[in-house]
């Protein structure tokens, strides 16, 4: 077991963090918005946290505690998301998707050019404070949050806004506000995940949190199923694990298989692997069977 962990531990750590990224992408989808922006906020958050740590260490002082860095990441990510939401959420769906990709590109350019603070192309080292258990704990807490969220007033609003924004509005739900909350919360999550990712990589360059990761996080969310929070986490685990376990058999062509798998799953399971509708159908069936048994 410990040998297994020695080999695959780091893979799981990345998978869990990807789970957080996927959850932030999922939050956008949940409010009916296709947004890749959380990665841009993650980048901003990671740089701020990394810089704070760097200055401390350079001064020969002890780094801030991990909790502080996580907090900074969430605040920065949430703030950036909140500010940009006023521009982005005005846009139509197609344009919004493009604009959020543009935002990720912009984040990299800003990081490159603020080289006094970010180290530009050279980057900035990030001291690692987290352990696997920290990451698991964070993912656990976030999962519980999503569980509560789903059955809360806000969760119902999100469902309604995603499916029928017009109806939601006529039922008294402020669609724009619901979207802004979701967008901001996605930024908070993105910021958190960004700090974790930077600590995992232990080095931050403008491409650490970039378009590829944005695509992969949204792919994980949809692959696992973007209708309940379990989906993105499962998607992220599979997305990371499959190529890793394929590696011994396929070598460098594992990516080809990975891509093909992604297409196949999307073609045959358009709602992703985890579909709450399916569960409801099962539980209804089971209930009706039970009542029949009781009756007979």
């Amino acid at each position: 077991m410990s040998q297994f962990w020695d080999i695959y531990g780091i893979t799981f750590e990345f998978a869990f963090v990807l789970g957080l990224f996927a959850l932030s992408a999922f939050l956008g989808l949940w409010s009916g918005v296709l947004s890749l922006a959380p990665i841009a906020y993650a980048s901003g958050a990671a740089y701020v946290s990394a810089r704070l740590a760097y200055d401390k260490v350079m001064m020969g002082e002890a780094n801030y505690p991990l909790v502080f860095h996580l907090f900074v990441g969430m605040v920065v990510g949430g703030f950036l998301a909140w500010i940009t939401s006023f521009v982005l959420l005005r846009l139509g769906s197609h344009y919004l998707a493009l604009a959020t990709i543009a935002l990720v590109l912009i984040a990299r350019v800003i990081a490159l050019n603020l080289d006094e603070y970010t180290g530009g192309t050279v980057g900035i080292p990030v001291p690692r404070q987290i352990t696997t258990w920290h990451i698991l704990l964070i993912l656990g807490v976030v999962s519980v949050m999503f569980g509560v969220l789903r059955k809360s007033r806000f969760g119902y609003s999100l469902d309604a806004v995603r499916e029928q924004p017009e109806v939601a509005s006529s039922l008294g739900i402020n669609v724009q506000r619901v979207r802004r909350y979701a967008f901001t919360f996605a930024g908070v999550l993105g910021g958190l995940a960004g700090v974790l990712q930077a600590q995992l990589v232990q080095y931050l360059v403008p491409e650490t949190l970039y378009v590829e990761l944005a695509f992969i996080s949204i792919a994980s969310a949809v692959l696992g199923g973007a209708y309940i929070w379990v989906g993105p986490i499962v998607g992220a685990l599979l997305y990371t694990a499959i190529p890793e376990f394929l590696e011994p058999f396929l070598g460098s062509s594992k990516n080809v298989v990975n891509g093909i798998l992604l297409v196949i799953i999307m073609v045959f399971l358009q709602r992703g692997l985890i579909d709450p509708r399916q569960f409801r159908a099962w539980s209804l069936k089971r209930k009706s069977r039970q009542t029949k048994e009781v009756a007979s």
Partner: protein, 278 residues
């Protein structure tokens, strides 16, 4: 004071005038009908009255309050709720969840209650379920609470849609073609349900092109075509008026049936607007 006052309402889409200088009102406690063939601008009117769309000019007052500065999602507070011609169910949500969404405006919890488990949220959730169940009972679909809404038959979805709208506790319920796609049996069931709601004090505005349905149900009727008002009054006055009978329903009684059918198909287009203006 009227429950609803529409004054010189006009809506233009680019060069197209969908609704032109339309005025009518609905008295409190009434079942009012807005009648006209397909494409007459009925849905455009109802969209504006429910706050989804904004008029190009003219005013809409609800219980005396002008709505021109009120945002779409705030119309609920004025006691307006509506249903849709194509029902617009929330895909993937259960029946009871639809009504819980409708209860949103009555909930007190905020976004922050949604992030950590807390007793306030839990209590409210239980209360909302009970409340939602009551509305399902009113529409006699409480036995289907856990089914997926979009898998229900048409008539039941219609009932659910009304339950969802009722959950906002409206004073005025707008119904956009409540009998669309229904047979005689289902239509009269819907009529029965609506009459029951009206007896409990709810004002109704029914948009229809099913004239029989309107004649049987409504107390006041406004007829529009090409976005303009032809006539309003009691169903007797409107449907027996020489004006409407000659121009709108056809001169011969025998022709009426044919006209009804063409009205249904939305192909009835031979009304001379000039005659009514004079």
């Amino acid at each position: 004071m009227s429950q609803l006052d529409v004054v010189s309402l006009t809506r233009q889409f680019g060069g197209l005038t969908a609704v032109k200088d339309l005025s009518f009102s609905v008295s409190p406690g009434a079942i009012a009908g807005l009648v006209g063939p397909n494409g007459a601008g009925k849905t455009t009117v109802i969209n504006m009255v429910s706050g989804i769309d904004k008029p190009t000019s003219g005013t809409i007052s609800i219980a005396g309050q002008d709505t021109s500065t009120i945002k779409g999602h705030e119309f609920v507070r004025l006691g307006i709720a509506r249903t849709y011609q194509n029902m617009k169910m929330f895909h993937g949500l259960s029946v009871i969840d639809h009504v819980i969404v409708g209860l949103d405006s009555r909930r007190k919890t905020t976004f922050f209650h949604a992030l950590v488990p807390n007793p306030i949220e839990r209590k409210e959730r239980a209360a909302m379920r009970d409340k939602a169940m009551e509305f399902l009972k009113v529409m006699s679909i409480d036995h289907l609470a856990e089914s997926e809404a979009t898998t229900l038959p048409y008539g039941l979805q219609r009932r659910l849609e009304i339950a969802r709208a009722l959950a906002t506790e409206p004073k005025l319920l707008l119904l956009d073609e409540p009998t669309a796609g229904m047979n005689q049996q289902e239509s009269s069931e819907v009529a029965e349900v609506l009459r029951g709601l009206n007896q409990k004090g709810l004002t109704l505005l029914v948009v229809e092109h099913n004239i029989k349905f309107v004649r049987d149900l409504c107390q006041e009727v406004t007829v529009i075509n090409f976005g303009e008002k032809l006539l309003s009054g009691t169903p007797q006055e409107v449907f027996n008026s020489q004006l409407v009978r000659e121009a709108y329903l056809g001169k011969q009684r025998d022709e009426r049936l044919a006209t009804f059918q063409s009205l249904r198909a939305g192909t009835h287009r031979n009304i001379n607007m000039g005659e009514f203006a004079s």
